[in-house]
Symmetry: C2
Subunit: 484 residues, 2 copies
């Protein structure tokens, strides 16, 4: 066997290229606000621009980076754009980017303590700092997963094990049916987890929400009573603090009481809004979440940490670990030891060193820096909500909460279906401008436009300009309807 | 609300820091081979060195980076060290590191096509390139997950849905029990997935392996027949190409025939060894895998791509997507469109732009570069196996396969339990040297030391030095036993 001609990038070449990218990234972040937010491409465009087959011989990284700039970049929707208000806006912040450079270079796997002690212990430290910032009691232990979907799946798996103590051994086959309860506005990941766990959609009870779009505790209580009477076993209740559609808040304290009464696991989905608990005056809606068995908060949503970083807090961590623990010999430390192996707290075995970026972000911003930024985001959302309330023909589609505003243009005389079509048209016009990016939802079966504020570079001007785009689009859409 | 004093890192500061890290990373990769491979810390050391509470005010990134160097680095086990031979060795290569810088800066989420078209389409392109390199037919479509544990979970969830067509609706409660079949040497992630899916460990059939440690097709056939006769429903068969303990290979063609006969989903776990199929003369053991329904190959293991990057290939992608598809309004594109939304192919909703690093790696190395490197790794493992065979008292614990060698020191006259203790002692001595890092397993209930080669910087000298350390440790351990 001859020596390979191709090694890793020689250090000097890597140094030069990484420096080049250091420049590119800081230039990019400086100018990202001037780019069209969403990609101007049609399905298949990017794929068609790339060769159908891999290269036979290695290529120069300069060529690869040139293609990245000219072929890939036009297809990027810029989540780091300050007027990206779709889904939940987020930030790949500078400190987070620096951490990801190091994470990739170290390439450590925090699956067991021994496989990289600092990666495990920094995860303990960074998640405990976050716990303290959120005002949660020390009984909550955190682990970092990729996404809230995974965090929720793991929490519900632990709940299922408590509801069905023999499930790990004999499965669900001989068991009475069980149910997971969540608001009709809960995130899709809850239903997907319920199905994955073998409980079936029939075991997924969507509980009606009240006028404020928070789960009705009375409806929950009735659903629990009905199920228990029918021999259906309550497995878990999921309370959402900050729903995706409208950032609505379930009455978590009242729900916690019901969970306790029925001996059911309470999981809190605070993936987006949980970060608000860092701000003293925004913590109110979370009151009672400290009674939960598990809580998910995603720093990659509203805490300036690049994807992916979802923290699952659990107040009974041993129940979580017991659900998954299975240590084959090839992962056992020869000398045993009493260190925590974080692979026990979920299903993913490979675990990137994600704690580093969370730690960098928390240190760089500090508690005060986080508070000021989150507070500003909420203030901007409130101001936008005020403009909407005051403008003829516009209405909030839900009570304004946290940094999210859900609203619609509903001019007098338009039918609900006309209003729906009109708002989708307005949305398309705004997004086509390239100056802002918004997404929609439905609330009560009717289309609502969402503005989700969450990027550290977003200023009042970005929000004001988006509002001008919205009213302009509404006028243009109305004119074009009249021309028909 | 006053303007926050703390914004993101100003562009010029980010530029300077990213350049500093560009230097640090290239220096690190140049000297990583001179560092002790595994961290010299005890449980709690790193945690104790860090403040128990987060900072009130934001800190300078220079301070944060200084702490990273002095407090975190000593606790890092260096997976990028060329003499890291534990678990499955891997590489955070230069092209992969550069890609991760860009991924963090763009912070795009490839959950739906529209949320970042290029991230979705590059994932299609890069996984299709990998498919072609592996010699799999075009019917296989790839998606990138975080880990093989997730990929296997998703594949088995699709299998479960075909075995129980009503599972998504009514769960497993009213169903006859079902089974998943895998070799006694299969990875723990299969069992964890079976438990997560609600099938229970009683539904996990470990099939005996033959002398070559590959699954016995006869035993599998018998287990299937027995279950069918008993009314147990076969759900899936998992064939492993390259087990974790010894890189053993299940007879996949014969298993595929049995899967077809019983109408059962065949999932192939080639997370580690699948990459070998890029090398023509190493493809033999994979013959028949093209008959599988799903195959997992992890470029973050033996394909020079930083954590995390696990590719799940599926020859019936619509069955995979139908298992998970659930598109709430807030993720729907207003204009519909026929683009693929990759969130449909698994449970994680947030999806990092992982395709970029795979694309960079495949382009930088090219088919030839990959072949030469993989070939060298296998050649070094074969050479080490030769030294072991020839050395008095040493033995291979399993047939040598791919780039993995499993072996033990078993001097004449020592009892099996003495041999076990001796090998764990040898392992500890070698790891304590700091010059190499190895892990162990058990095969046939007896301890075996593993040397897993997979880093792009590993040379014959690293392997030879490790062998010298092993024989030296064996001599020292024998002497110390005689002194007792």
């Amino acid at each position: 066997v001859e020596a390979p001609r191709r090694g890793d990038l020689p250090p000097e070449e890597l140094r030069a290229l990484a420096r080049e990218l250091a420049d590119w990234i800081s230039d990019y972040l400086e100018r990202v606000g001037t780019l069209p937010v969403s990609a101007r491409v049609s399905p298949g465009d990017v794929r068609a621009a790339l060769p159908a087959t891999p290269p036979e011989e290695g290529e120069s990284m300069q060529d690869v980076l040139a293609d990245f700039r000219t072929l890939v970049m036009p297809g990027i929707t810029h989540w780091n754009h300050p007027a990206f208000f779709g889904y939940f806006a987020n930030t790949g912040s500078g400190p987070g980017i620096l951490a990801e450079m190091l994470t990739a270079a170290l390439n450590a796997n925090a699956m067991v303590w021994r496989s990289s002690p600092a990666a495990t212990e920094l995860e303990e430290v960074a998640t405990d700092w976050l716990r303290a910032l959120l005002g949660l009691p020390p009984g909550f232990e955190g682990v970092i997963n990729d996404t809230a979907s995974s965090s929720t799946l793991y929490a519900l798996a632990a709940a299922r094990r408590l509801a069905y103590p023999e499930v790990a051994r004999r499965g669900l086959f001989a068991e009475p049916p069980g149910s997971v309860y969540a608001s009709e506005h809960a995130h899709m990941s809850v239903e997907r987890a319920v199905v994955a766990l073998g409980l079936g959609r029939e075991g997924y009870r969507t509980v009606a929400a009240g006028e404020d779009l928070g789960m009705s505790a009375r409806a929950l209580s009735a659903a629990l009573a009905q199920d228990v009477a029918a021999g259906v076993r309550p497995v878990a209740i999921v309370a959402t603090l900050g729903t995706t559609s409208s950032a609505a808040v379930d009455p978590v304290r009242r729900i916690a009481e019901l969970a306790r009464e029925h001996g059911v696991w309470l999981h809190v989905d605070a993936a987006y809004a949980g970060s608000a608990a860092i701000v003293p005056e925004l913590r109110g809606p979370m009151a009672g979440w400290e009674l939960a068995d598990s809580i998910v908060v995603n720093p990659h949503k509203w805490l300036f940490t690049p994807l992916d970083c979802s923290v699952l807090f659990c107040s009974r961590p041993e129940d979580l670990a017991s659900t998954f623990r299975l240590t084959p010999e090839y992962l056992r430390a020869p000398s045993g030891g009493d260190a925590r192996d974080l692979m026990d707290y979920g299903l993913a075995l490979g675990r990137r060193f994600r704690a580093l970026k969370l730690w960098f972000v928390l240190r760089y911003f500090g508690r005060e820096g986080l508070i000021e930024r989150l507070r500003l985001h909420v203030r901007m959302a409130q101001e936008l909500a005020g403009w909407i309330r005051e403008e003829e023909g516009w209405e909030l589609a839900a009570p304004q909460r946290f940094s999210l505003v859900a609203f619609r243009y509903a001019p007098a005389g338009a039918s609900p279906s006309e209003v729906d079509a009109l708002n989708l048209e307005i949305l398309e016009r705004v997004n086509a401008s390239g100056e802002a990016f918004l997404t929609h939802t439905t609330l009560g079966g009717r289309v609502a436009i969402r503005v989700a504020i969450g990027n550290v570079r977003t200023t009042r001007d970005h929000v004001a300009r988006t509002w001008a785009l919205l009213t302009g689009a509404a006028a243009a859409s109305t004119r074009s309807a009249e021309d028909d």
